[in-house]
């Protein structure tokens, strides 16, 4: 297993380098460069040229490429134009926020998906079964930014100002502005409240797929001999489902974690913009509009690495949970 993981990791190196090359050329061959954003009236062509020199943009593309790759191999991702800081520092500010959000969304999605999928399997072909799958597909079919706005209107604006609910959820940010002055218990609650809506928006979209998979897996397990035996022994249905079938049905569902991580990262772009969540998705969109080349390249590169790792994780999980699969 260790050897397999190592081999996969080694195999990922050319992959990641290839991705980096594609990113570099897409970004650098596009029309427009960062200096156009810094121009104001009265700035002469010489000043603009000076800016290009200051940012190292006066060199030909292939020279910049070689420099960039060489620097990257030593862990230096360059300097972000728009944040005036080393790219790595900027990314390390954003990365944890995205990881927290994605992890919670994933947990929520699996929770909802597994519960509903199980219910659907137990009540196969009933009205509840098809209703649930249509409802889940309904959320899946929504543009996620629209779903997010609806959630804000309902659980933030209406809940507080119109319906007067005792609990409402703030529409933006990771913490309240008075976070530093809260007790540690209150801090956790505060974070949870801020997390709820964005995580929910992401999770509702994913839940449909998980529930579908769970339903299928559960149906397969229920037909198997050991479940029949359990039933034949006269165990109550609830115990059959939850004690015996559920555990086994969960195994293949685990592997979805790896598959859903790229989907999640795409989703965070919208969700982070709407909920003013300072994460990677926003950083990358912001960087693209600002033509912050080093940041765009490094951020996409990070995304790609995380996806490669997620895929690896999926394969490893598969091997771990299914004894029939053994990697050399």
């Amino acid at each position: 297993m260790t050897r397999y993981v190592l081999r996969r990791l080694l195999g990922a190196v050319p992959l990641v380098l290839g991705i980096a090359t594609i990113i570099f050329f897409v970004v650098n061959l596009a029309p427009g460069d960062p200096t156009v954003y810094m121009m104001t009236p009265g700035m002469s062509s010489e000043v603009v040229e000076q800016l290009r020199v200051n940012y190292g943009l006066d060199q030909p593309v292939h020279v910049r490429y070689v420099k960039w790759v060489a620097a990257m191999l030593t862990g230096d991702f360059g300097y972000s134009f728009s944040y005036s800081r080393p790219v790595l520092d900027v990314l390390l500010d954003f990365l944890p926020n995205t990881l927290i959000l994605s992890a919670c969304a994933l947990a929520l999605a699996f929770l909802v998906g597994i519960v509903l999928g199980t219910i659907q399997a137990v009540k196969q072909y009933s009205g509840l079964d098809s209703t649930l799958s249509v409802v889940l597909l309904f959320f899946y079919s929504m543009p996620s930014f629209w779903l997010a706005l609806m959630l804000i209107l309902m659980f933030s604006l209406m809940a507080r100002n119109v319906w007067g609910w005792p609990i409402y959820f703030p529409a933006s940010g990771i913490t309240s502005t008075d976070y530093d002055f809260l007790s540690s218990g209150a801090q956790i609650v505060d974070r949870g409240r801020h997390l709820f809506l964005p995580a929910m928006s992401l999770a509702l979209v994913l839940a449909a797929g998980i529930a579908r998979y769970m339903r299928g897996s559960m149906l397969e397990v229920i037909r198997q001999d050991f479940v029949r035996t359990a039933r034949a022994k006269g165990l109550p249905e609830r115990s059959v489902v939850f004690k015996h079938a559920l555990r086994n049905a969960l195994i293949p569902v685990i592997t979805l974690v790896g598959l859903y991580i790229p989907v999640l990262f795409s989703g965070t772009v919208f969700i982070e913009l709407i909920f003013a969540w300072p994460g990677m998705g926003r950083a990358i969109v912001e960087a693209i509009t600002q033509r912050d080349y080093p940041l765009v390249m490094a951020a996409s590169f990070f995304f790609a690495i995380m996806v490669v790792l997620a895929n690896l994780l999926a394969d490893v999980l598969y091997a771990v949970v299914d004894p029939r699969i053994r990697y050399e």
Partner: protein, 569 residues
């Protein structure tokens, strides 16, 4: 194995609720590591030395929400964006002078100034009680350093035009004594204006930084050290800036601000921002859209404030294009567009039709000017005079050679109002036989297309300018600058050249005023742009914040005098 899975799930869930509090991020940057503790020490000392006065107005936090970052932070040398400059002027740093409500210069960091008889020497006398937040005193060396930095071409200071009539570089500035500094210049109009915008940087911290590297220095957004009414406390990119009251701000300038903390939050989505304002999670909503005004007016706890701003929106016509070379065609395009309707419809009335680049509140504005009015028949007649007639009956005019009067109007992606303007022009000008083709272009690409002197790949482009209080259109319309980036219209008009040359150097407002009137007449005749409107800027705030003043000078003009209703903290 199953346990492992269950554990994983629980672990994920636990990570959501229970991750430890992310305190202030620790920086590995040597500059910041050095500077931050010194600021903390000094602020603590000043708190001891200057206890909060016994006044209920002191205390509380005001949170302001805006869709964009303070992009350059307090880095004066690389800033041109509005939020950054405003925070440098009024929050974190200090300018030598500032403007009063009537846009008259008044002392701020400089307690007085004088100009030599011949107008070539400007001498500032600084306050002696202003300290950088790390305890150093602000003195003449700081001013001289800032001057050298922003006039050095290697810095690539964005508003380089400020120094067009100043002697740039080290020769332009002398330190007379610790608090007296002199700069050399040629006499020109409104020469003090630059000093109301360009804040002073700390020489003792940045003196060793090379001009080419100042834009990338962590001073700007990671650990700025100012001398203004608020002390920088923290900045989480794309999230928030936290400023704390400066306990050592000079008594003579009002002393410590009333607010304990002022927080700037970045919330990119307007609907989210509005929700946060309505649910009282933010106190001030910077520049809501006119469409959101009604909702804000409905809410009892909110105040909606509007003021005529310095920015105008226009369509710049590329006079190099054959169909737009004739001023009559450009005038017809303006007359064929119902600009009043656009103001009413798109801005919900929050704006006033513009005829020239001179803002209505400015002393140079000529209130008697009529400008071009909406007049489709007149426009059609002008087009006919210019030789554009619909010869083949397809609804679009052609010239004698058969070229169609078809004009593309570009606008940048993601700007709803500019897009609206392009679309409305298209609909309205179709009525007089002009085909307008709205075309969206990504912002960076668009700038490149219109700014590159040998490209100029556009017919018309919807754009906006924010004017300084010192008006100067030389870069836009003077034929001598036709190969510089901003000569979009490619105007070559001797009358305009003459007026622009005179106006740039005329220091007496009484002499300049009639010239400005001539200039406005000439500009309307030439119509290099179809000027649409000066917009009114909207701002909304929670009524629990008192004494907020926002006007042409900016939104942060008196942030040090804002206070929170003591009953609602």
């Amino acid at each position: 194995m199953k346990k492992l899975f269950a554990f994983g799930l629980v672990g994920l869930a636990a990570a959501c609720g229970g991750d430890e509090a992310g305190g202030p991020v620790s920086f590995s940057d040597p500059f910041c590591d050095d500077v931050i503790p010194r600021v903390q020490t000094w602020v603590a000392e000043q708190r001891e030395a200057n206890p909060v006065p016994d006044d209920p107005r002191y205390g509380g936090t005001a949170v302001l929400g805006s869709i964009g970052e303070i992009a350059q932070g307090l880095n004066v040398a690389s800033s041109s964006d509005y939020s950054s400059v405003q925070h440098q002027m009024f929050v974190g740093l200090m300018t030598l002078i500032d403007y009063d409500e009537d846009i008259q210069p008044r002392p701020y960091l400089a307690e007085s100034w004088e100009v030599s008889e011949d107008g070539t020497e400007l001498t500032f006398r600084l306050r002696d009680d202003v300290y950088w937040h790390d305890g150093e005193r602000t003195d003449a060396e700081d001013v001289a350093f800032t001057y050298r930095m922003v006039t050095n071409p290697e810095t690539a200071f964005p508003n380089a035009a400020f120094w067009d009539y100043y002697v740039r570089g080290p020769e332009g500035v002398e330190v007379l004594d610790e608090f007296t500094v002199r700069v050399h210049l040629q006499p020109h109009s409104e020469f003090l204006n630059a000093w109301s915008t360009v804040a002073i940087l700390p020489e003792h911290l940045l003196g060793d930084v090379a001009p080419t590297e100042i834009a990338q220095h962590p001073y700007g957004t990671v650990c700025p050290v100012g001398n203004g009414p608020f002390v920088f406390a923290s900045h989480a990119p794309q999230d928030r800036w936290v400023f704390e009251a400066n306990p050592g701000f000079p008594e003579g300038l009002g002393g410590r601000p009333f607010l304990d903390r002022y927080i700037y939050r970045v919330i990119p989505e307007p609907t989210t921002l509005l929700t946060e304002l309505l649910t009282e999670n933010i106190d001030v909503y910077l520049a809501p859209s006119p469409d959101q005004a009604a909702r804000i007016l409905d809410a009892e706890h909110l105040e909606l404030h509007s003021f005529l701003f310095r920015n105008y929106v226009m369509v710049a016509w590329n006079g190099r294009r054959p169909q737009l070379a004739d001023a009559r065609v450009r005038r017809a395009l303006t007359m064929g567009t119902n600009r009043q309707e656009i103001v009413e419809a798109i801005l919900q009335g929050y704006g006033s039709v513009a005829h020239t680049s001179v803002p209505p509140f400015h002393w140079a504005f000529d209130p008697d000017i009529d400008g071009l009015q909406h007049d489709p028949e007149g426009a059609a007649a002008l087009l006919e005079q210019a030789g554009w007639v619909d010869r083949d009956g397809d609804g679009v005019r052609e010239n004698a050679v058969g070229d169609r009067l078809s004009i593309s109007v570009k606008y940048n992606q993601g700007n709803q109002i500019r897009q609206d303007i392009a679309e409305i022009m298209q609909a309205q000008l179709a009525g007089i036989g002009v085909e307008i083709q709205p075309q969206v272009v990504e912002w960076g690409t668009l700038l490149q297309q219109i700014n590159t002197p040998d490209l100029r790949d556009f017919d018309g482009v919807v754009m906006g300018w924010v004017t300084e209080f010192r008006l100067d259109d030389t870069d836009l319309f003077h034929s001598g600058r036709i190969d510089e980036p901003y000569a979009w219209a490619g105007t070559e008009n001797p009358e305009l050249d003459r007026l622009l040359d005179r106006l740039a150097v005329e220091t007496d407002r009484d002499v300049a005023a009639p010239l400005w009137e001539e200039y406005q007449e000439a500009l309307i005749e030439e119509q290099p742009y179809t000027f649409f409107y000066f917009s009114e800027r909207l701002d909304a705030w929670n009524r629990r914040v008192h004494d907020v003043v926002m006007d042409q000078r900016g939104e942060w003009v008196n942030v040090r005098e804002w206070y929170i209703d003591p009953g609602s903290r």
